[in-house]
């Protein structure tokens, strides 16, 4: 199961990296979001996977609750940042008239 999760995390981060390296701003934001999902799954995997165990100290078999708490926080932060980033992208498209990262380099005379 851990191996499978590692492959999944790797694939998600690969796709995200590919999207971040493209020109269109919207694709970049989607790429960061996908990398985020990969990272959250990585935290879950790194905490140790255990199917069926409750996250409480009932008997000998229990799931570590800390990675889940960490992911919850990380997801909320990622959600907020993605929302802000989307609004920023919309606003800069309105003002600058382009979403092509090549054209956002800036010029000397500004």
């Amino acid at each position: 199961m851990e191996t499978l999760m590692s492959f999944l995390v790797g694939i998600l981060i690969t796709i995200g990296t590919y999207l971040v390296l493209t020109k269109s701003l919207l694709r970049i934001i989607l790429g960061t979001s996908i990398i985020g999902h990969g990272v959250h799954l990585l935290i879950l995997t790194m905490g140790g996977l255990k199917s069926g165990g409750p996250p409480l100290l009932e008997d000998v078999s229990y799931t570590d609750a800390l990675p889940q708490a960490l992911i919850l926080t990380a997801i909320v932060i990622n959600f907020a940042v993605t929302g802000l980033f989307l609004v920023l992208a919309y606003r800069s498209y309105k003002v600058l008239g382009t979403d092509d990262m090549d054209q956002l380099r800036g010029t000397e005379d500004e």
């Binding site: 990398i35 790194m46 940042v81 800036g106």
Partner: protein, 496 residues
């Protein structure tokens, strides 16, 4: 357990929330923000005296003992930085009152400024790696808003790159946290330090340490500073000043904390890497500072040089070098704020940031000119101003640690800093006056007060080194001996 430890975080936070609730009342925002920062400063000074007399202060949130709950730890290093933060925040607020403009003020500039301070103070005080990530994010999201507030073309363009690079580095931070949790099974800094000391720092842990170094370097502008000059030159002066003063310093603080408390077992790998990165940062930053002809860019590259120089102190890892780093860190927070404010005032007067389009400002503004001169000397470390003692101690430390090349690069880049900042002085203030008083694009009315406060502080810090020596000495003592930090966090409780 000491509840005062949490106050520097929640006072600005609650004040910010109150401001948002009461809407766009600018008068209330101004009064409340300045009052809040002064109150936080007083609390921080109280903490300094408590830490000095009673040792490291801790607070276990919710009463959960150390490795299970979140710990807040106030040692002398973090408390000194919080005092400096409050001082700089007050002066930047005073500058913002006169310069930031009605529109930005009514779009919640002051609450977001206070949230930024919340994040900065939280990063300084936290004793838990994941909580450090959360505080970083509080600070970064506030900084995203501050860098875009106003919505000018240049701001939007630079902010996209700034946001993207910080989002990606946050993910790297999370990856590092995940690996570290998998290897050690804890995220409490004191507990981490203890466990790594028990099992030894093997290759895996060193790799995670280097990943964390990359993450914090991205935030601090250590070697990976390609995003920094553009983003720090885009926002208005008061915001650029608080960025230049504080944001990179939080990354530097995190590197110091991690590599003195947790990953100190393999200095021939990690600390040598820090030394190389610091040297490259100084060289590249100095080239940038000399090359540009634009005030904002020269100042932004000066931020980069200082990061490299402070890291030279950490890389040497002797008592003198760490002491120099702390002196220089405190000095650098203050001097970066004042030099950005001065540069911003010059741009405000001349209406341009190009040096060859301005000349002779000192004729009509002698006070501004002389304060710039003093700050420029202080920036490049001329005695008796505040940069001198840090520079001497770091250089001494690099020589003691047999890193002669690092000390030499530090001294050569100091000369280039002096050259780049004197270039601003010569072109901007010297020469024939191009602008008469009527033709100027703005006034210095009200802007000189915050600048003169900070200039006075930099002179006072230089002359009164003996006064803060006892505090810096204690900070170095705790940095060099991690067992003090660990025993303060656990407080005699059994360690699982």
């Amino acid at each position: 357990m000491n509840n005062v430890v949490i106050l520097p975080i929640i006072i600005p936070f609650i004040a910010g929330i109150i401001m948002v609730i009461f809407g766009r009342n600018i008068r209330l925002h101004r009064w409340l923000s300045i009052f809040t920062m002064i109150a936080t400063g007083i609390v921080a000074i109280t903490l300094v005296s408590q830490v000095q007399t009673q040792g490291i202060q801790t607070l276990q949130l919710g009463g959960w003992q150390a490795p299970f709950g979140i710990s807040m730890v106030a040692d002398m290093f973090s408390v000194l930085l919080i005092v400096t933060t409050c001082l700089v925040a007050v002066t930047c607020l005073l500058f913002a009152f006169k310069s930031i403009g009605k529109e930005r003020e009514s779009y919640y500039f002051y609450p977001i400024f206070l949230f930024l301070i919340t994040g900065v103070n939280g990063s300084f005080l936290t004793g838990d790696l994941f909580n450090l990530f959360v505080c970083f994010e509080v600070m970064l999201i506030s900084s995203y808003v501050l860098i875009t507030i106003g919505g000018e073309k240049g701001q939007l363009r630079e902010s996209i790159k700034y946001v993207l690079i910080n989002v990606l580095s946050s993910f790297l931070f999370l990856i590092a946290i995940a690996y570290l949790y998998a290897v050690t099974g804890t995220l409490n800094l004191a507990h981490l330090s203890l466990r790594i000391a028990e099992v030894g720092q093997d290759g895996l842990i060193t790799t995670v340490a280097i990943l964390l170094l990359i993450v914090f370097s991205l935030k601090a502008g250590l070697f990976l500073f390609f995003w920094l000059p553009g983003s720090y030159s885009a926002p208005p002066t008061a915001i650029a000043a608080i960025f230049g003063a504080l944001l990179t310093k939080v990354g530097i603080y995190a590197i110091f904390r991690m590599f003195t408390l947790v990953f100190y077992h393999e200095p021939q790998i990690t600390h040598l890497l820090i030394a190389i990165m610091g040297a490259l940062t100084m060289i590249l930053g100095a080239i940038g500072a000399v090359a540009y002809n634009d005030i904002r860019m020269i100042l932004a590259y000066n931020v980069v040089i200082a990061v490299g120089f402070i890291m030279a102190g950490l890389a040497s890892f002797t008592s003198a070098a760490l002491m120099g780093s702390i002196y220089y860190l405190i000095h650098d927070i203050i001097i970066k704020a004042v030099i950005f404010l001065l540069g911003g005032t010059m741009i405000h007067l001349a209406g341009t940031s190009k040096l060859n389009e301005m000349s002779g400002l000192i004729r009509n503004h002698p006070a501004l000119g002389w304060m710039f001169f003093i700050s420029a000397l202080s920036l490049s470390g001329i005695p008796p101003l505040s940069g001198f003692i840090g520079k001497v101690l770091i250089t001494q430390g690099t020589f003691e640690a047999d890193l002669f090349w690092l000390g030499a690069i530090g001294l050569i880049t100091s000369l280039m800093v002096l050259y780049s900042i004197m270039k601003i002085f010569l072109y901007g203030f010297w020469g024939g006056t191009l602008l008469s008083t009527k033709m100027e694009k703005g006034t210095t009315k009200g802007l000189l007060l915050p600048i003169s406060i900070l200039t006075a502080v930099t002179i006072a810090l230089g002359l009164g080194v003996e006064g803060i020596h006892v505090y810096v000495d204690q900070a170095v003592y705790t940095l060099l001996d991690p067992s003090l930090y660990i025993s303060a966090v656990f407080g005699g409780n059994p360690i699982p």
